[in-house]
Symmetry: C5
Subunit: 356 residues, 5 copies
Amino acid sequence: MSYFSKKYHAPGTSPGTLAETAGAGGLVIRLIDYTATEFTEKDLISPAECHDYLDRPTITWIHVQGTVAPETLRHVGELFELHPLALEDVINAGQRPKAERYGGHLFVVACDPSLAGDGHVTSHQVSLFAGENFVISFHSGPDDPFEPVRARLRKAGGRIRTRKADYLLYALLDLVIDGGFPLLETLGDAIEETEADLLERPDRASLHKLHAIKRDLLLLRRMLWPQREAINALVRDGEPPITDETRVYLRDCYDHTTHIMELLESYREMTAGMLDIYLSSVSNRMNDVMRVLTIIATIFIPLTFIVGVYGMNFAHPDSPWAMPELRAYYGYPAVWLVMLALAGGMLLLFKRKGWF
Amino acid sequence: MSYFSKKYHAPGTSPGTLAETAGAGGLVIRLIDYTATEFTEKDLISPAECHDYLDRPTITWIHVQGTVAPETLRHVGELFELHPLALEDVINAGQRPKAERYGGHLFVVACDPSLAGDGHVTSHQVSLFAGENFVISFHSGPDDPFEPVRARLRKAGGRIRTRKADYLLYALLDLVIDGGFPLLETLGDAIEETEADLLERPDRASLHKLHAIKRDLLLLRRMLWPQREAINALVRDGEPPITDETRVYLRDCYDHTTHIMELLESYREMTAGMLDIYLSSVSNRMNDVMRVLTIIATIFIPLTFIVGVYGMNFAHPDSPWAMPELRAYYGYPAVWLVMLALAGGMLLLFKRKGWF
Amino acid sequence: MSYFSKKYHAPGTSPGTLAETAGAGGLVIRLIDYTATEFTEKDLISPAECHDYLDRPTITWIHVQGTVAPETLRHVGELFELHPLALEDVINAGQRPKAERYGGHLFVVACDPSLAGDGHVTSHQVSLFAGENFVISFHSGPDDPFEPVRARLRKAGGRIRTRKADYLLYALLDLVIDGGFPLLETLGDAIEETEADLLERPDRASLHKLHAIKRDLLLLRRMLWPQREAINALVRDGEPPITDETRVYLRDCYDHTTHIMELLESYREMTAGMLDIYLSSVSNRMNDVMRVLTIIATIFIPLTFIVGVYGMNFAHPDSPWAMPELRAYYGYPAVWLVMLALAGGMLLLFKRKGWF
Amino acid sequence: MSYFSKKYHAPGTSPGTLAETAGAGGLVIRLIDYTATEFTEKDLISPAECHDYLDRPTITWIHVQGTVAPETLRHVGELFELHPLALEDVINAGQRPKAERYGGHLFVVACDPSLAGDGHVTSHQVSLFAGENFVISFHSGPDDPFEPVRARLRKAGGRIRTRKADYLLYALLDLVIDGGFPLLETLGDAIEETEADLLERPDRASLHKLHAIKRDLLLLRRMLWPQREAINALVRDGEPPITDETRVYLRDCYDHTTHIMELLESYREMTAGMLDIYLSSVSNRMNDVMRVLTIIATIFIPLTFIVGVYGMNFAHPDSPWAMPELRAYYGYPAVWLVMLALAGGMLLLFKRKGWF
Amino acid sequence: MSYFSKKYHAPGTSPGTLAETAGAGGLVIRLIDYTATEFTEKDLISPAECHDYLDRPTITWIHVQGTVAPETLRHVGELFELHPLALEDVINAGQRPKAERYGGHLFVVACDPSLAGDGHVTSHQVSLFAGENFVISFHSGPDDPFEPVRARLRKAGGRIRTRKADYLLYALLDLVIDGGFPLLETLGDAIEETEADLLERPDRASLHKLHAIKRDLLLLRRMLWPQREAINALVRDGEPPITDETRVYLRDCYDHTTHIMELLESYREMTAGMLDIYLSSVSNRMNDVMRVLTIIATIFIPLTFIVGVYGMNFAHPDSPWAMPELRAYYGYPAVWLVMLALAGGMLLLFKRKGWF
C-alpha cells in the first residue's frame, strides 16, 4: 500500500460527481431479504431487480462486491434515496472511516485491513448504508468477507434473524473490526521475531524487516484511528435506525476498536525502541572488532620500531658508539627478550584496563 | 516559502489600518451575478461598478485576484459594510486560516498551498466574505484558481445555481481544500522515492531532499492545521447565511481537511523515521569499509614485524646467537612459511568471528 | 507475556458465542454466602448448587478460579441472567479492563499483574459481576488471590460484613489494584540497580536487562491504562448497586490506579533516559581506548620512519652525500637522542592539548 | 535572560506583602485623561496627584514605567481600590501572563519580549488594571513602549478616543502582543541563516548559535504560552468593563497570540531537526576524511611489508634458497612492478566498491 | 529519594487500617487556638488535651510534626470524626497530592519538596484536614516548616487572625507551594552551570551532574503534577469551609502551582537538549584528536615505505637494474628531497581540503 491511497476527483468538480474510476468491473451484487421466518437469497444482475423488496416490511441486505461502476451506484442511490456526497465517498475508495447521518439513513465507512501476499498490510474500503429496513454494503476488495454473516442469516432462529437492520449493520461492522485481531496477532509475532533477531544477530535484513513493520503499523494506525471515532459516533447516536438493544453490541464493538488501537500504539512503541537496540548492538560489535584489531596493531608497532633500530647501518669503524649491541654476543636473544617483555607488558596492561 | 511569511503593521498601529503593501498591482476584479435563471459575468475596472447589483435579490460574487491595493479594499469594505479588522487581514496576507463572524457576514481566511516551480511548497491566502446574497473572494496569488466553479455557475440548471450564497462559499472552500489532495499525492510519491533512495544508496543528495520534504511538511502543517478548525467552526455555526442543506456539504469539507491533516501527520512520522534509516545505512557502510581496511592493516603489521626482525644487522663474528636463522639453509623459505601460516591463521580467526 | 495475548473468536462468529478455549480445567468454584450475622462457605462441584442461595436476601459471592469451561459459564449466566457479551469477555481472557452496565448488573474486567518466576511481568484477567445481592468473580490464573478478603469476611463484625454487595466488589477490586504497589516497588528497585550498573560498568547484560524492563513497563502500561478509566466509570456511576458510602472507597481505589499510572509513566521516562547514559558511557570508554592506542601508534610511526632512514643502503664509495651520518662517530646515540626528543615532544604536545 | 527569572517573597510571607525589590528607582509616571472631546497629558511626581481625575467621567490612564517602589504601589492601590494580591504580582515581576478579575476591575499580566543588545531574547512584565473609566499600566523595562498609543490618543477624532477604557486596555495589549511579530521575524531569519550554515559548512560556531536560538525559543514559549490563555479569558469574559464592541478586537488579539504560538512551535520543530542535520553533516565529513586516510594507509602497508622482505639479510653462502631474488638480474624492477600492480589493484578494488 | 517512595499496606488489608510504620517517634504536637482577639499556643503531650477547644467557636489548629504513631492518629480521628481512608493516607506517607471531601471536612495532601544535604531533592508529605473551625496538619519530615505562619498568627490584627479556618488552610498550603520557588531557583542555577560546563569542557562529571538533575526534575514533576490538580479542585469547590474571600487567595495559589509546573517543564526540555550538546561536543573533540593523529600517521606511512625501499638488499654484481639509486652520487639527498616534497604536498592537500 502506498503512502497516498485515496481516489479523488479534480478539485472544483461538483460534489457528488460519480466518475469512472480505474479497475471497475468484476462486480457481484448479492441480495438477501429476510424476516424471522422468511429468507430469500439471490445474486442480482442489476440493482433494479431489488425494487420488489423495497416496500415490503422485510429487511433487505444488498451487498456489492468489487469496484463499483458509476451507473450502478447512481441506480442504487436513486432507489434508496441515498445522498450524492455519500455515493461519491463509495466510489472514491480510500476514504477515512466515518459514520454520518444523511436524512433518514446512516452512512458508515470502515476499512478492512488484511495481509497481502507479500506480507505487507493492504486495505479495502467497506461502505455501509443502513435505514429502517435495509442495509447496503460495498466492499472494494476482490473477496467477499461477509460469508460468515450470511451463514448466520441462513440459519432460522438465530438472534440476527429476529433483530432489525441496525443489528445487521452491527454484525457487518463487527466482522470487519474483529478482522483486526488476527492481523495484529501476526504483526505481534513478526515484531517478537524481529526483536529476537536484532538482539542476537543484528544484520541489515532484520533492519529492513523492522522498517517494513513500522511502515505497516503507521499505515494501519492512520486507517484505524478514525474508525474508533466513527464507531463511537454510532454508539452515542440515539436515533433510529440504531436501537437501544443494538447499542449494547455496538459498545462492545467500540471496545474492540479501542483494544486494537491500544495494541497498535504499544506495537509502535515497541518498534520505536527496537532501532535503538539494533544501533547499540551494531555499534557494540563494531567496537569489539575495532578494539581487538587496534590492540594487535598497537602491540606490534613498538616492536617494529625496535627491529627497525637494529636494521640501521651505523658503522663507524672505530667508534664504540656505533651500535655496539649488534656486535654483542647475546645481542640478538636480548632484543627478543626485550620485545617479548614489552609485548607481554602491554597485553597485561590492556587486559588490566579491561580493554579486551 | 520562508519560515516567517506574514505581513504585519508596525505594533501600535491603529487596528484596521490598510497600508500599502509591496507588490500591489496587476489586480483583476471579476463579477458574477446569478439566480437560478439569470447569469451575468463581467470584469470590473473598479469596485464601484458593482453597486448596481447590490440591492437586487440575485447572488453577487466578486472575485479579486492578486495583491489588492488599500483604496480598492476600502471601497469594497464600504460598499458591503465589511469590518475593518477583516479588511486588515485581507491586506496583511499570511494570516492563519480562520472563520469569524463580523455582524451579519462571515469572514473566512483559507490558504491555498501549491507546488512552486522549484519543487517547494508555496502558499497563497484566500479571503472570503459571505453575506445573505453576496460572496467576495480575494486570492493573493498570480493565477485565479476558481475557474472550475465559474464553469459550473455558467451551466444553467446545476445545483450551484439553485442554492444560496453559502453554497457558493462552500464551493470555493471545497476547491481550495481539495487542492491539497494532488499536492499530498505528489509529496507522498516524493517520500516513497526518497525512502527507496535512502535504503539502497544513502548519499548526501537524498539527505538534502529529505530535509526539504520535512521543511515543506512542517510549513504545510502549520498552514493547514488552523484551517480544519476554521471549517469546523463553519459547520457548527448554525446561523445565517449558513443553511442546513449546505452544512451537510461543509461537513464533507471538514472531513477532507481532517483527512489531509491525518495524511500530513503520517507523512511527518514517515520522514522522521527516515533519517534513522539514513544514519544507520551510512554508519553500516562506513563500518564495512573501516573493518575491511583495518583487517588488512592488522594482518600485515605482524608480518612487517617479522621481516623487520630479519633485517636486523646482528653480526657477532663468533656468536652462535647472532641471528643463526639468517645463515640457515632453508631460512628464507621457512620465514615465508611462517608468515603465510600467520596471515592464514589470522584470516581464519577473523572470518570465524564473523568480522568480515 | 507476549505482545499479543488476547483470546478471540474467528471474526464473524455470533457475539456471545462461548467456545472451548485451550487450557480449560482445574476449575475451582467457591461460594460464600453472608449477612452481618450469618456466614456460609463451601466449595461447589457445579454452579447449579448455588441455586438455593439466590432468592435469599443474603449476599452471595461465587468465585471461579482458573480457566472456565463454556458450559459452566453458560450455566452461571443463565442462573444470574448475565449478558452473553459479558460472558464472552470472561472466556476470551486478555480483555482490556472495563466497567460496563448490562441491565441490572455491573460487569467489571480488571487485570491482575504479577511477577512470573522468570522475573517478567505476567497478567491474569479478573472478571467481576455485581448485582444487588451477589458478586461473581472469575480469575484466570492458577492461584486464588482473594484469600485475604475471605479471611476478613469470616470475621463477624467487620465492616465488610455489614455492607452490601458493592462493598464486596470494591474489596476485590481494591485487592487486585493494590497488588500493583509491590510490583512497582520491585520494578523501581530493578530500575535503580540497572541505572547504577549502566553508570558504573556499562555492559551488554545490563542493556538487555534495561530492554526487558522497558518491555515489561510497556506491557504493564497497556494493561493498566484502561483500568483507571474503568474505576473512574464506577465512581461516576450513580446507580445501584453502587451506593454513596462505597463510592468514597472507590474514589480511593481510583486514586490508587492514578498513582500507579503516574509511577509507571515516571519509570518509563527514567528508562528512556537510561539508554542515553549507556550509549554515552560505552562511547566514552571506546573513545578512551581508541585514543590511547592511536597515540601510541602515532608516536612510534615517525620513529619507525627515522630508523628506516638509517636502514637504507646508500653507499656511493666516494660521495660525501651517501649517508655520512652512518659513519659519524656519535651517529647512533645522536639518532637515539633525536628520537627520544621527538617522542617526548609529541607526548608533551598531546598532553597539553588534553588528548590523554 | 536566565532560566529562573521570577521575583518572589520568602515562602510564608503574608500574601499581598509589598517588599522592596532590587533595582527600584528611575520611576516615571505618566497620566492621560481623555474623553472624545477633552485631552489632558502630564507627568506626575506622585500618584496622589491623579486624585482629581478619579471622580470625573473621563477615562484616566496612568502609566508607571520602570521598577516600581512599594510605597508608590501601595498608594495607587489605595486610590483605585486594587487587590493586594494583584499589587504583589506587579512588584514581583516575572509572573506568568494571566487575566483575572478582582471585584470590579480586571487585572492583566502580559510579557513584552524583545531582543537585547547581545542578540538574546529578554522580557519585561506589563501589568494592567482596568476598571470602568480607568486603566493603570506598569511596565518593568527601562523604555516606554506605549508611545504609539499615546500618539493615537492625542489625535482627536480617532476611534480610540470615542471608546471606553476597555478599548484602551485592548490597544495596550495589542501593542505588546504585536511586538512578537518583528521578534519572530528576526528569529525566523536567524534560523534560516543557521540552517544554511549547518547544511553547507557545519562548524562549532553555528552549533552554538543553534543552541542559543533553541534556548531563546524555549524561554519565549514559556512566557507566551499562558498569554494566549489570558487573552482568551478576556474574550470569553462577558462582564464589564469589557464591552461587546471591544470583544471583537480582543478576538483579533487572541488570533494573533495563537498565530505567534504556532510560529514558535514550528520554529521549535525546525530547530529540533537541525541538530540532526549538523550531526549527520559532521559525521559525513569525518567519515570522508577517515576513509581517505585509511585507504592511503591500507595501500602502503602491504607495500612496506614487501620492501621489508627484501631488506632481510638471509645470506647462506651456498643455499639457492637464500633470497635468490636479491641476486636476480631484474629483481629490483620486478619488485617495483609487483608493488605498483598491487597498489593499482587495491585502488581499483576500493574504487569499484565505492569506498572513495 | 528513590523511584518508589510510597508506604503501603499488604494488598487485601481492610481499608482504613492504621498499621505501625517504620520510623515512628520523635512526635511533636502543637496547638494554636485563636480568634481575632484571643490567642492560645501550647505543645501537647497527647491529642486528648485538645478536647476542651473543640466546642468553642474559636479556630483550633493542631499541628503534628514527624512520623505519627497509629494510636495518636486514631485518637485524633475519633475526636474530629475524620474518615478512616483519610487517616490511612496520613500514615502511609508518599501519597500523591490530592484534595478530597469526606463528609463535612476537607482532606488535602500536599508534598513539601526540599533539597537534602547531598544536593538531591527529597520530599515530605503534608496532610491537612480542615473543618468549619479547625485545621489539623501533619508533616512527615523532621523540621516544622510552619513557623512563619505561626509568627503571623501571634501578631494580633493581622488578616489571618480575622479570617476563618479556610484561610489558615490556604496560608499553610501557600507556604508549602511557595517553597517550590527557591528550590526551582537553585535547580535553574544548577542547570545553567551544567550547561556552561557541557559547552566548554564536556567531561563525565558534568554528564553525571546532568543525569542527577534530570532525575530530580522527573521526581519533582511526578510529585507536583497532581498538586496543581488538587489546588484547582479546592478553587472550584464552592462549598464550606471554603469561602469566596479565600477562593481569591487559593486562585493565586493555583497560579503559583501552574507557574512551578511550567518552570519544571521548561527545565526538563532544557536538560533534554543538553545531552545532545554533550554528545556533539564529545564527538567533536574525539574527531579532532583522531583526525590529527590519523593525518600524522598517513603522512609517515608512505615515507616509511620509501625508506624501506632503499633498505632492500638487491645486489646483482653486474646488473645495472640492481638499485642503481643506492650508488648514485646524490642518491641520499635526492631521497630526502622526494620525501620532504611528498610530506609537504600531502600536508598542503589535507589543509586545502580543510581536514585540519
